[in-house]
Symmetry: D2
Subunit: 316 residues, 4 copies
């Protein structure tokens, strides 16, 4: 087991960066191009609030699917576990994140879980607020508090690109409307979903979200519990079984702690009682996970003994 230090992280970054070569940058995102392919950054914040960063950790990228974690926390807060999981399942899916067949092929048309697009659209439609602007405002305010970063903002360019490329998500949402799973206005639900995906964050911010999950939902500002621990357990368990698209099983084995990735190349990791991790690495594989970022996550797990399935349950 190695010791966590900035120098160690810099070495780990250099070890993992070559894996970017096997991935591809998601060119549908504005300003994402070949020049971003080799970017790789990491921040780790431990529960005793020490912060370690290395590599391209100041690079800002859109949250994309990592927003699903935030949406789920807010929906659980607003409606409780029973009502949320009345609208969406909690089972891993074994299929691509934007699958529509799964909505059709089972008895109920509930999306499998809140980490796939259909599930996240259904869940984010549950975030309370008087109007769409208001609901996104609430999301952003919460995100600013848990990351302790008042500068967070949505990228208009990303939001517009999400809308322009939104046909698949529209199909998912209208399908759910047709089966009664989605009862709110479809275009409003999608609009909120696109906005949530379009908030720009860097490694520190992603790590702060992981830390929030790892240390019982405490505000970094007031140390108040903003979300009850039992809801966070739910979120982390679902990240473990479903957070890394249809490589979630692989990451449960190889990393062994709750993670959530986004197609921008972002990864949030949360090791309960120990630390939050934020990674960015825009080159992604066919399943949507950062190739270099994923390699880094697995290396950190091994070197720092983070695997919760180890003999000591990941608590060294």
């Amino acid at each position: 087991m190695k010791e966590l230090s900035i120098q160690y992280l810099e070495e780990a970054i250099e070890d993992s960066r070559p894996f970017a070569a096997s991935g591809n940058v998601n060119m549908t995102l504005p300003n994402f191009d070949e020049t971003m392919k080799d970017l790789l950054g990491v921040s780790i914040i431990t529960t005793d609030l020490k912060c370690y960063s290395a590599g391209d950790h100041r690079q800002f990228i859109p949250m994309q699917s990592t927003s699903k974690v935030i949406g789920l926390m807010l929906a659980l807060q607003d409606f409780g576990k029973e009502r949320v999981f009345n609208a969406v399942g909690m089972e891993p899916m074994g299929d691509f994140f934007n699958s529509i067949s799964q909505l059709e092929s089972y008895d109920t048309s509930k999306p499998f879980n809140p980490m796939i697009n259909a599930g996240a659209i259904a869940v984010s439609a549950m975030i309370k607020g008087q109007n769409p602007a208001n609901r996104f405002e609430r999301y952003l305010t919460f995100l600013k508090e848990i990351t302790d970063n008042d500068d967070l903002a949505m990228s208009e360019d990303v939001y517009e690109a999400e809308k322009a490329n939104g046909a698949r998500n529209r199909a998912l949402a209208y399908f759910m409307q047709s089966t009664g799973t989605l009862v709110t206005d479809v275009e409003e639900a999608l609009d909120l979903y696109y906005r949530m995906n379009s908030v720009m964050m860097c490694c520190d911010d992603f790590a702060r979200v992981g830390l929030f999950l790892a240390r019982g939902g405490r505000s970094p500002r007031s140390d108040d519990r903003l979300i009850p621990p039992h809801h966070l357990r739910t979120v982390k368990a679902i990240m473990m079984t479903s957070g890394m698209y249809n490589s979630s099983g692989h990451y449960a084995v190889e990393a062994g702690f709750p993670c959530k990735s986004g197609v921008s190349g972002s990864i949030i990791g949360a090791i309960p009682g120990r630390m939050g991790i934020g990674v960015i690495g825009p080159a992604i594989d066919a399943k949507g996970n950062s190739t270099a970022g994923g390699a880094l996550i697995k290396k950190l797990s091994q070197d720092l003994d983070l695997n919760m399935f180890g003999e000591n349950g990941g608590l060294s």
Copy 2:
């Protein structure tokens, strides 16, 4: 948080027993009938080797799918991670345990994971041995050692019943042969699989298997490591994402530690660094999990703070 004691376990049993009413006993198993419906037993063995049992913990039932855990350990031991997962995936499936569609609907015809029937048949075909008798002998010897119970034996009646009701497993195996996934003799592979499922165990034995996983693969006799810890991490991670049929996501949320169930009503639980749990409760739900046993597992998790996604990672 409550204190672990025999008295506590007896209370927990009585709290959970009513859930048997919503389940059904699997009548295809010999001697399984209505009189078994309300049976419920539990054993817990902590890593400091204290043993607590309550309820019908002396009832013997066939291992059924809990044998998949043993088969996976032996295959990993014999062929290593790379070769095992060349033959079978490690992704959760989101479908019923005996699904054959999944074999057909993806690019490769690899079974999703070793916890579903197709995957377990493919994995157990990897257990080394000169002939079928020899291979089952090896399985049983290993099982006797890790449970410290030389009396374990296969039930001929259960074995015959498995064979007689084996059409679905035959279909899975021949399908895998047709795609080249299963290269050994199909009938031999199935025979071993049926034998593995037919070993009779009671709660203490199931708990011993859980303990073996929880404390680094050490023999209860010699304290030697029989299986390297990295293989056990793999097994536990796969139990977490796929061990409870297509309720695995639910159990990850509600229990929060690796479990594996069988349609005889057996459940093995392993809390890394803390304890092994063995439960029997023959009334099962539509997905194949013990209803009263599952209720008990969730209650234990809550009362004894076993959820690994909690703030302290399940290590109290």
Copy 3:
């Protein structure tokens, strides 16, 4: 074999009407209610232009899916067989008419055929015209000519209901947009599709469409060929394999000539070289076909020796 006469048709109607009891009226259509359940009407027009009608043949109902036949004729006329079947397949599907899974589960995301909703949306998007109003105008003008009925018009109420209940079709259309199958504006394509479905017709009109297909695409006014015979063969073949939702195979066996049904309870039949048939019977089965209308179609086939698979190929 019986002789075709009005009296025979009236007897056939009374024989078939009781089958309405096993169906249900599609209440999502305006003015469709229980009082319509027992309606049953038929018109037959032979290629020598004799017309026989009986029962509730003057009842007007919306075309619904029978419009798919018209849309396909116009698209073939406008773009030719190669380009139309570049966008849509010609294989029967074996699944429900509004299935979205099938779009996802095959190599290409082409809809299986033009008789299912996805396929018909893709095909109707090919009807030429400078703008949506213009394209629907063309559809209606063509329909007026081949039915020799200038009074045909769209029901605004049905059109509004189609739009209001359009979530599933929207999902199909956006899915096709996401895969590049649908390249035109989705909302425009759907609007035309809804309008086409909303034209009101009675048995005589439906029979006229069947006759048009049966006698080589000749205008009942000018006797000119409006659509080349080779396109009509294509349309009739696809009606035979796919025209009756996922009971098409059943109707190929039991009726044995090309038919197309709609969920309003309409059926168009075309017996090449012999006659066109129009049926209405609003009580439909779970697959979308008129129960009494279907029974009537099968009875006509038997009594009048219309089955093309008979020894004389349906030409008595």
Copy 4:
């Protein structure tokens, strides 16, 4: 429209032979190799019993799936329509001929139709006989009579190869046993199925089967009706919607008469009231149909005006 003559057929063969280049010979069949790739033969026998043959019409090949037509006739004869279609559906499938997913994905586990492997296994299990040898004997005797060819025999080599490559069919059969669809002995059912597929025939024989279907089930020897016409209508209708694997819709459009193909490159065609066609062309496409043979079938349809969906219903 061209006139049917041996010279015409020889020209049609030469026109169609180049399509063999795009296909592949099924090398799992004994003695099938590259040297067979360009073989192409045809026989046509009209209902007035004139016979026209050309090309490699004397080449013998195994029946393969063309046997499904014979099996269905015998099962209908033995059990009647209701009981046969209680065990198997009559709907086209839209999936590959050896699909197992379809058995699992619908409410009932009935195979879609008797032209796919699962359906044919279920149907041939219905052929009456005291023992397997007896049942095959009955099949062969019937086949000899309708082809007027007492020399027909099974190839032992093909039969052995069928058995050796039978894993997929075994999987289908055991799956059907597990759902109660197949109630007879699985290995016996498969054995009969393999034997049926292994009978060797040449173009004349295949054409005789087509003629039998086309002229009302009359024995070429006694002119007695061996199978009632209503059963033949059923068989021909199912050939039209499902006879050419998942290109059946394509052939309904492009040929327009009932056909059944086999992966040996055989095709049986039946034009009701007009003629039977037998084609062999061992180079097959990815769906299992002879490429040159399919091209020839379509050319014959066009040149000889055989398309039943034409204005005159295929009766020139």
